[in-house]
């Protein structure tokens, strides 16, 4: 069974949208309550490597993209999660599962204001101590 079918089968109806935009780029959307389970399936069960995550402020909400790389064939599976409450965007942290996610979640917290529930060390990573609280550089203008 190839990896694409494997992802579809294991994630089942957690996938709310599936887009193959090119030969090696697959974007799948899941609900924010399923993020930890989806990450667990991709990282532990299917053996993918967590490459990075990126957040972006959109009119619909704060969107997080978790990029997982399947190195055996060079495909990247990107989990898209939309946090529609822009005043208090919250998501489950995947750091307890994947240690390599610790820093990127801290960065997304300070750049976009996303609260990661369960993160062991959610404090500033890049910004100075005298950077004003509550101001997030990558948020769009109101």
């Amino acid at each position: 069974m190839n990896i694409r079918d494997g992802v579809r089968e294991k994630l089942g109806d957690k996938i709310t949208q599936w887009r193959e935009i090119s030969r090696r780029r697959i974007y799948l959307e899941v609900d924010k309550k399923d993020i930890l389970e989806a990450a667990r399936i991709l990282f532990l069960e299917l053996g993918m490597r967590f490459a990075t995550a990126s957040g972006i402020d959109t009119p619909e909400g704060i969107e997080i993209l978790y990029h997982f790389s399947f190195d055996e064939n060079g495909e990247i599976y990107t989990l898209r999660v939309l946090l529609d409450d822009k005043k208090r965007p919250e998501a489950d942290s995947i750091t307890p599962l994947i240690k390599g996610a610790e820093w990127i979640e801290r960065e997304m917290w300070e750049m976009l204001g996303i609260q990661f529930r369960g993160h062991p060390n959610l404090k500033r990573l890049l910004l100075a101590d005298d950077w004003p609280q509550g101001e997030h550089p990558l948020r769009g203008k109101e």
Partner: protein, 400 residues
């Protein structure tokens, strides 16, 4: 009650070109914890990208890091070309050969740079001087081909900016021919020296399991037995057309990381030679005018590992979002397991072994604790590391 000593390394230290500040918690000789704080180099590049048009972004990202100066623009243009259909569809073949040559020359200069610094950290200053001396002809090649020793301004969406002239090829080939025996010399000096072996073997081990959990990349991962290399897993440039090997070691210690980098030098020399021989005539630029709306991901195997760029475009001439993830972002975080458990005298070389590029990562580490503390600075740490090597040399002399 143990006496905890805090050893700050940095932020301003003569041999650390980049301001980073590690705080090691030590008990006696052993490192029990490490805090890594970053941010001294953070220049807000992802935000700046949103105000520049696609052509300008290539110049901006080149200056994320001086050492991997071609990896970031390459990953960036690959991300944009991903939106356009992929490098192999958009970029002319000659341009892809030139890109590969620049990328591999950069790997050579970066590994030699690291070799020199590592040599200095363990007290072999001659290795430092010689590694950097042999780096100079590589920089001369860059200057000849691109016009600058660093910051090449070669990459643009759809191709490269300058051609590699036929009359320059003999110079590059000659530089590589002279480099080959030098790499042999380094390999002999480092791999056969019993003191270096005992100094580096078994130190700073990152197990396969830890390497996977911390999602490390590059030679740091390959030294721990994780078989990943973007050049083979998702080929770019012309790597698919050439014959080369991925270097894999299994011990995960600093010696393995050193060996991995030295062996990669041989592979890089071979790759460039093949490119120079096989490069066809043709265009070097596809002359792209517009970038349609979409999302693209580009990645290259920088000297330190996978360099990952994500671009979101809405059809205008500026990116909506540009996410940059440098390899050191993953690798330096893994120092939390690599350095802890070792001794202070090994700390300097362990932290350097992942080949950290702080400007890529924008990090700092500082921890201060009131009360019972003894402060040593980074200079002391390197001195401790060099003294350990001297003691080992003395020891081996007595054993003869």
């Amino acid at each position: 009650m143990s006496h905890k000593v805090i050893v700050p390394i940095g932020p301003y230290h003569p041999l650390q070109d980049e301001p980073e500040f590690f705080q090691l918690y030590v008990e006696g000789e052993k490192v029990v914890d490490i805090d890594i704080i970053i941010g001294y180099n953070h220049r807000g590049i992802e935000k700046l990208s949103e105000d520049k048009h696609f052509d300008q972004v290539a110049f901006l990202v080149e200056r994320i890091c001086g050492i991997c100066s071609s990896s970031h623009p390459y990953a960036y243009v690959l991300a944009v070309e991903d939106i356009l259909g992929g490098e192999d569809k958009v970029v002319p073949l000659r341009a892809r050969y030139i890109r590969t040559i620049i990328d591999e020359l950069q790997r050579i200069h970066s590994h030699l740079l690291w070799l020199g610094l590592a040599g200095h950290f363990i007290g072999y200053n001659t290795v430092w001087m010689w590694a950097w001396k042999y780096r100079e002809p590589v920089l001369d090649c860059f200057e000849l081909v691109t016009g600058n020793r660093n910051n090449y301004a070669m990459f643009k969406v759809g191709g490269v900016r300058r051609d590699l002239k036929d009359e320059d090829i003999p110079f590059v080939k000659k530089a590589l021919d002279e480099l080959f025996p030098a790499v042999d010399m380094f390999r002999g000096a480092i791999m056969d020296d019993p003191v270096i072996r005992s100094r580096l073997k078994g130190i700073g081990i990152l197990t396969r399991e830890e390497a996977r959990n911390w999602c490390v990349v590059g030679p740091t991962a390959r030294a721990s037995g994780i078989n990943i290399d973007v050049r083979r897993d998702e080929p770019y440039g012309v790597f698919e057309r050439l014959s080369w090997n991925v270097i894999l070691e299994n011990d995960g210690d600093i010696f393995a990381k050193t060996v991995a980098r030295i062996m990669e030098l041989y592979e890089s020399i071979s790759i460039i030679r093949q490119c120079l021989d096989e490069m066809p005539e043709g265009e070097i630029d596809a002359d792209i005018k517009d970038v349609p709306a979409g999302e693209g991901i580009g990645r290259v195997e920088a000297p330190r590992g996978e360099c990952f760029h994500y671009i979101k475009s809405d059809g205008t001439n500026r990116p909506v979002r540009h996410k940059i993830r440098a390899p050191s972002f993953m690798n330096v975080a893994s120092n939390k397991v690599g350095a802890v458990g070792g001794t202070i005298s090994d700390a300097a070389i362990t932290l350097a072994a992942v080949d950290p590029c702080y400007c890529c990562t924008e990090r700092l580490a500082v921890i201060q604790r009131p009360g019972n503390k003894k402060i040593m600075n980074g200079w002391d740490l390197i001195r401790l590391s060099q003294e350990k090597t001297s003691r080992m040399k003395e020891g081996s002399r007595h054993n003869d």
